[in-house]
């Protein structure tokens, strides 16, 4: 089944993620983020573009509290996560799924254990049969049931991405953060992953931020795009609008 974008977003939707004036530097003179601001509305797929090293990964790491920003506010579900303590942060984290650039599967655990690991810790009311069922369900939805008893080292790059995605989805997050979901994959697998991202958006009604260098993926999945440059948002708009932008630098992404 071919899915198409859901362009009919209610415009009055309040932003579910709202980043304002974010600053982050490493050492004295590596200023990565210099007042980054953007927002994401509920149910929206926001694609973040930008050259390598422009601070895309840093921005979403600040968003889940893996990194502390130097300055600025990050509102998620109406709470400023830069001011939350560990417990408050963990409550928010449970509602956010994070797909790492390289999958970050737990090497020492099989696929089954990778998936049941977060589930067992956060839904302690489930019995083993229910956990197993949830694991199989989620693997089915990413199309990888046959890999359930494999170790991560036995999986291909694309399979790892899918398992990583399944592991993020198993806690039913409301927000999904994808860090380069299609990088390193062939065109066909990339397209499948992009389809998967769309189908997840529609099936689970999630809000997503998708960092990518893959324009096909951006075209397929984006409701809106922001382009980072010099630590701030340089351009913003729909895929079509940016593709026909007057700014040559912006257009250069789309060639």
């Amino acid at each position: 089944m071919k899915l198409s974008k859901n362009h009919i977003l209610p415009d009055n939707n309040a932003p579910i993620i709202d980043i304002k004036n974010l600053y982050k530097s490493f050492g004295k003179d590596n200023h990565v983020l210099k007042g980054l601001s953007f927002f994401v509305k509920k149910g929206e797929n926001l694609v973040v573009l930008g050259k390598s090293g422009s601070g895309k990964s840093i921005a979403i790491k600040c968003l889940v509290g893996l990194m502390q920003a130097d300055k600025g506010t990050i509102n998620v579900f109406g709470k400023d996560i830069t001011k939350l303590d560990e417990t408050g942060l963990n409550e928010i984290r449970l509602r956010i799924g994070f797909l790492f650039q390289n999958g970050a599967l737990y090497d020492s655990m099989s696929v089954r254990e990778n998936l049941s690991f977060p589930l067992l810790r956060h839904s302690s009311s489930l019995n083993p049969i229910e956990v197993d069922k949830a694991v199989i369900d989620i693997l089915t939805s990413v199309g990888l049931t046959e890999a359930i008893d494999k170790m991560p080292s036995e999986l291909s790059g694309g399979m790892k991405k899918r398992v990583g995605l399944a592991r993020t989805l198993i806690l039913k997050p409301e927000i999904l953060l994808y860090d380069e979901p299609t990088t390193g994959l062939d065109t066909i697998t990339s397209r499948e992953i992009s389809q998967l991202i769309l189908s997840i958006q529609q099936k689970y009604k999630t809000t997503s931020i998708i960092i990518t260098h893959d324009m096909a993926c951006a075209k397929q999945t984006s409701d809106r795009i922001v382009i980072l440059k010099d630590g701030i948002v340089n351009a913003e708009g729909t895929y079509d609008a940016l593709e026909n932008s007057n700014d040559e630098w912006v257009r250069s992404f789309f060639i």
């Binding site: 893996l66 984290r93 449970l94 650039q101 599967l105 020492s108 810790r121």
Partner: protein, 252 residues
């Protein structure tokens, strides 16, 4: 030189912070019992053959080396007691701890280091699982508990090795040999020696975890974490040993 000193002091400071974090997290539920038992198996059971072989050789060699000197004084009957004493007081704890610094500390350093580099630790954190509790607390506890047990094994196997060594030149049965061993042993030989092995175990786990958990990003830091874990853990073992001997000296 200044930079070198500075890095030593920051390292020491961070290690102290890491240790206080351990004591803070250890009392907070939930407890990762399953992972703790698994680590006991990995650290204890899997190091057993290595410790057994070294323990046996230590006992055997120590007996063979000491015999000529003792027989010069006609004191060969002291041999079993002397070997048992030096094994239990000093050699078995220190050698076992050093072996485990090589195996366990570097193993933990490399494992946690690669988990850090491949963002697995971050992945735990974003799924609201406390990686410090799951990875660090369990490993430090397991090694604190397992190293003393391994040392007791090494003691016993070392004494057995001593028996074999003793029997190369003379003929004594096991019962008499054991009687000679236990005759020479006192409470104060065993008690402080056992206490210090807990500290050995603690520092082996702590340093491995610290080096791995705080590894910087990049693949080469995994090797660095494993390597510096062994070096620092071995050094710490000698320092603890020295302190332990001084303290025992004061009180007994």
């Amino acid at each position: 030189m200044v930079i070198y000193l500075k890095s030593i002091f920051t390292d020491a400071g961070n290690l102290i912070l890491f240790t206080t974090r351990f004591f803070r997290e250890i009392v907070k539920p939930p407890f990762e019992t399953h992972e703790f038992i698994k680590q006991c198996y990995v650290i204890g059971y899997k190091s057993f053959p290595l410790v057994a072989v070294t323990g046996f050789i230590m006992g055997l060699v120590l007996t063979l080396q000491s015999r000529p000197t003792l027989s010069k004084f006609g004191a060969e009957s002291w041999l079993p007691g002397m070997v048992a004493l030096s094994l239990i007081r000093e050699i078995a704890p220190v050698i076992t701890a050093l072996i485990c610094a090589g195996k366990v500390s570097s193993g933990i350093g490399a494992e946690l280091g690669s988990m850090k580099v491949t963002e697995q630790i971050d992945a735990m954190e974003v799924s609201a699982i406390n990686p410090f509790k799951y990875l660090v607390v369990t490993r430090i506890l397991a090694s604190t508990l397992m190293i003393p047990i391994l040392v007791v094994f090494a003691d016993a196997i070392g004494i057995l090795g001593g028996y074999v060594g003793f029997n190369i030149h003379s003929d004594v049965n096991m019962v008499r040999y054991n009687a000679q061993v236990f005759e020479s042993l006192d409470f104060i030989d065993i008690f402080p020696a056992t206490i210090k092995t807990f500290f050995f175990g603690f520092s082996i786990g702590l340093i491995g975890c610290y080096k791995g958990f705080t590894a910087s990003n990049g693949t080469e830091s995994v090797g660095k974490a494993a390597n510096s874990a062994v070096v620092l853990a071995s050094l710490t073992i000698f320092i603890i040993d020295m302190l332990a001997v001084q303290i025992t000296d004061l009180f007994f």
